[in-house]
Amino acid sequence: MSKTGKGHTDHESNRVRQKQKMNQEKIEVERDRTRLSIKMDTKIKTKIKMKVTKVRAEAREEAKRSIAGENRGRKESGQVSRGVSRDEGQLQGAVKLKFKVQPFLKRAAKSAGVLAFWPMVMAVSLSLATRAGWPGPTLLGLLNPELQAAPTAGRSFGPQVEKPKLLVIKAGRILTMTGPPIEQGVIIVEGDKIKAVGKDLAIPEGAEIIDEPEGWVLPGLIDVHSSLGLVDERGQSENEELSEPNVAQLDVLDGFYPFDRRIVQVRTSGITAALICPGRRSVIGGQAAVVRLKGQTVDEMKILAPAGVKFSIGEGPKQAFGSKGRLPSTRMGNIYVIRQALLEAREYAGQWAAYNESLAAARKEKRSAATIQPPRRDLKLEALAKVVRGELPAFIECYRIDDISGAIRLVDEFKLKAVFMGCAEGYLVAGEISKRGIPVIVGPMGIGPKRTETENVEISNAARLHKAGVKIALQSETQYGLAALEELPLVAALAVRGGLGEEEALKAITINAAEIIGAGDKLGSLEPGKLADLVIFSGHPLDYRTRVKKVIMGT
């Protein structure tokens, strides 16, 4: 990866520049060689001139495509170390082959006047090499050597679509998260989906089989409060547009960088999907999205977008704006910004409802609708109107009891479909939260540095909220600045220490997490029809000795 030391934009353009440079270099090499060959046979020079141009153009296209594939492969190469050497081997093989073929081709070309063919041959052989055997990102053999010997499901990066393959996972214990655990069970995966889960299933023919008699299979873990792809390792941030307190119009998809190194890193700990959120310092930060942590483009990766609009109440916005002498510099100011925005959105929603009604009325009465003017579109209010109408949840980040109470007032006033995030002092008002059926994404557990807002963090927070009847999910600690890696099982184990049942703790990082962020139909449990994202642990997931053996995301 290039190290620009700058933000994503630079990073991005640098990447593009590098790619172009590589293309250029390759093409130049081709050109030189072509020239050499042409010198050898000046007689046919003019004859083939036209052809050269044409073939060169083709070769350029081909080279571009293959380099793009190569680049992608390189991005993925961190995941499967064995894959790296294999790829290299194949590439070298292809290069050797090309050199053997070369003299013969030259002779043939000399006589036949098709010298300029061989740049294309080279390009094609390169592209074949890239297509033939990239191990693909589907199985991440990581962390210990035996993993790296895991079978690798082939995945091509070329334009052609492979038929979905069948994958069978036999495991000692399958925690479906919706039903009882299955001992010595079988999961059949077809393409990206789970086809069947059960105990004595017929193994389909031709399927690739993964046998883990000691392994525990869980659905892929979900980090429900993440800045992956928005904040890179160096802390370059794309998650907070702090030019004004309300930026509901922004969509995290537009800031998401699919090659963030941290994506590969969190996958190693079993996280396969995340709710990507704007940061905590904006009052209304923008639209969050649920992203599957596999793919090259955000469009390919998104599972649910927008998943909701992110709000934040407390020290974050106060410090960000108050320090500049701007609104909000107090908690009252903070809530005011939100109320004002939601009131405007309610009005806006009303205008559109009226417009749609009059359109419908005109259609019904069969008169012309030409005179009916639509309201002016406002992207900010459009996003918030969805929240006001209850079409999108409001993710409200709040930690202290005063902020939680403020959030509850907003929920009551605007009948919001809300999810609370953080809620460090949630245990103090668990009853109020429960009464309104507001789910809570609980965190932090107190591992990381404390701020004024998390001063009274309690390890029993999750357990007490759950006991009061609140549906809970657990977030990874990194969101609040923990300098350790995303260890959701560790967070779950801490919640257990705080009194939460083990099953409930596991649900809080899988199925409940999925349902709270609105992706329960695709993620969070091992059921037919859901995405085949699963983790094989070496033992009980909450045991510190347990490692992630494999992460599987489709065949």
Partner: protein, 468 residues
């Protein structure tokens, strides 16, 4: 000083409500007695005794120490960090020391015997790198005097709040409740030379009572230049950083020469009136390093800074070099092993190499023959979570016993306190923790924590179970 048993708490300088409360079984205990013992043990065992200033005041007040009280912990699994572990062992504690340890040692008459069958006993955990009591990281902290990049004269004990500052106001109590009994508290890494570290035992209510070794070592930081670069002040480069260390060492050497000249002059010509070189706290502090009286602890991240640290250590013959964080140390592990540099790993336990593959730093370094400690860097990771830091290293491959050593005997050895701390062996301080189960399983808890033979924490569960 009129300090009485902590139970009474009458004449203590700080209110007692947040302190680890000693409990009935151990009765009252005297800060003085413990310090007297500690002082004696240090006097006997370590050439560093001259550095222990704190105990002097307590030395006279040995009367009243309950040195004959015998406490026996019976039947637990013992992971000693020493030569031998016991599946079912018994520890005899006499006064503040471990008297005997074994499968079936003789229990003296009149001893208080506590049956801890089914539990695990380990030495009290030691954090080799912490900023306990110095304020919240990212907030207003007391550990970085950012007015001058070279501040060896600063003493961390002058900054520590003995309970923890808001929002970490109960840091000490919470740390003890998770089995942390000793912490090496260090200045921050904002300055090239940050100041002098201290070793604290987490009991006693005042910094002076807690401190068992000061100055423990000199804290430096290489490769961190952003803060001063912003001001357009040296260091703006890594070269500048290294130069400042060199400069400070050379100035100390000059100071040493001036002192020697004065001493010689005084000895040879007592009649002539000579004046000693003027006091310079900065140079005097660096003299401790120059004279190899205290080791050096350096914050580094990148491989080049790590090698700069090694270079400086060789150039000025540091008595001992240890590195903090050292996230790229896996790149130069063999060098570090050869130079016998200790690496204090954390708070990031897993780092990613250039190909984005995870490296379990503690495990990798250990396998390459580097001595490791594991830290929280409190409050980057909160002090109580020292064992979960180690648990992460274990999860990704470090031997559990080595992980325990990295938070017990290795830090003790790093600070030169291995004769009194860090393992369960006869003659050592009775700092130990009774766990409800596996040490590294965060679902388990500390049931009883002892420092110097005194119970400083007891889980509510203990009394609950006893009642049953």
């Amino acid at each position: 000083m009129e300090l009485k048993g902590i139970n009474e708490g009458e004449s203590r300088r700080w209110p007692s409500k947040n302190l680890p409360a000693p409990t009935g079984s151990s009765g009252r205990w005297s800060v003085h007695g413990i310090f007297c013992f500690m002082l004696i043990s240090l006097l006997l065992s370590s050439p560093l005794f001259i550095l222990v200033k704190v105990a002097q005041a307590q030395a006279a007040a040995a009367a009243g120490a309950d040195n004959d009280k015998v406490l026996v912990l019976k039947g637990a699994r013992l992971l000693t960090s020493g030569n031998k572990n016991y599946e079912r062992g018994t520890i005899v504690i006499k006064g503040s020391k471990i008297f005997e340890i074994g499968e079936n040692p003789q229990i003296p008459a009149g001893a208080e015997v506590i049956d801890v069958s089914g539990c695990l006993i380990t030495p009290g955990l030691i954090d080799a790198h912490s900023h306990l009591g110095l304020g919240p990281s990212g907030g207003v902290t007391e550990d970085n005097e950012m007015t001058d990049p070279v501040t060896p004269q600063l003493r961390i004990i002058d900054s520590i709040h003995p309970e923890g500052l808001a929002p970490d106001k109960n840091q000490f109590r919470q740390a003890v409740a998770e089995g942390v009994t000793t912490a090496v508290v260090r200045p921050g890494s904002g300055n090239v030379i940050g100041g002098q570290s201290a070793v604290l035992k987490l009991r006693g209510g005042t910094v002076d009572n807690m401190c068992i070794l000061f100055p423990a070592d000199m804290k430096m930081a290489l490769g961190r230049k952003a803060a001063y670069a912003q001001k357009g002040q040296m260091p703006m480069t890594k070269m500048g950083t290294a130069f400042l260390v060199r400069q400070a060492m050379l100035e100390a050497a000059d100071y040493r020469a001036a002192l020697d000249r004065y001493e010689n002059e005084k000895k040879n010509n007592p009649a002539t009136a000579t004046t000693p070189p003027p006091h310079d706290l900065k140079k005097e502090a660096m003299l401790l390093v120059l004279d190899r009286k205290i080791p050096v602890h350096i914050h580094v991240d990148q491989a080049d800074d790590i090698m700069t640290a090694v270079r400086l250590a060789k150039e000025f013959s540091f008595s001992k070099l240890s590195l903090a964080h050292a996230e790229e140390s896996y790149k130069v592990a063999d060098e570090l092993a050869r130079e016998k540099v200790t690496v204090v790993v954390g708070p990031r336990m897993i780092v990613y190499d250039d190909d984005n593959r995870p490296v379990n730093l503690a495990d990798y370094l250990h396998r390459q023959g580097v001595e490791i400690c594991i830290m929280t860097d409190a409050d980057v990771v909160q002090q109580p979570f020292l064992r979960s830091q180690a648990a992460i290293a274990v999860k990704y491959g470090l031997e559990p016993e080595e992980a325990l050593r990295a938070i017990t005997i290795n830090p003790a050895r790093l600070m030169g306190l291995e004769k009194s701390l860090g393992s369960l062996e006869p003659g050592k301080d009775a700092d130990l923790v009774v766990w409800s189960g596996d040490l590294f399983d965060v679902r388990q808890e500390a049931l009883r924590v002892f420092i110097d033979g005194v119970e400083v924490y007891r889980s509510p569960r203990v009394d609950g179970e006893l009642k049953k």
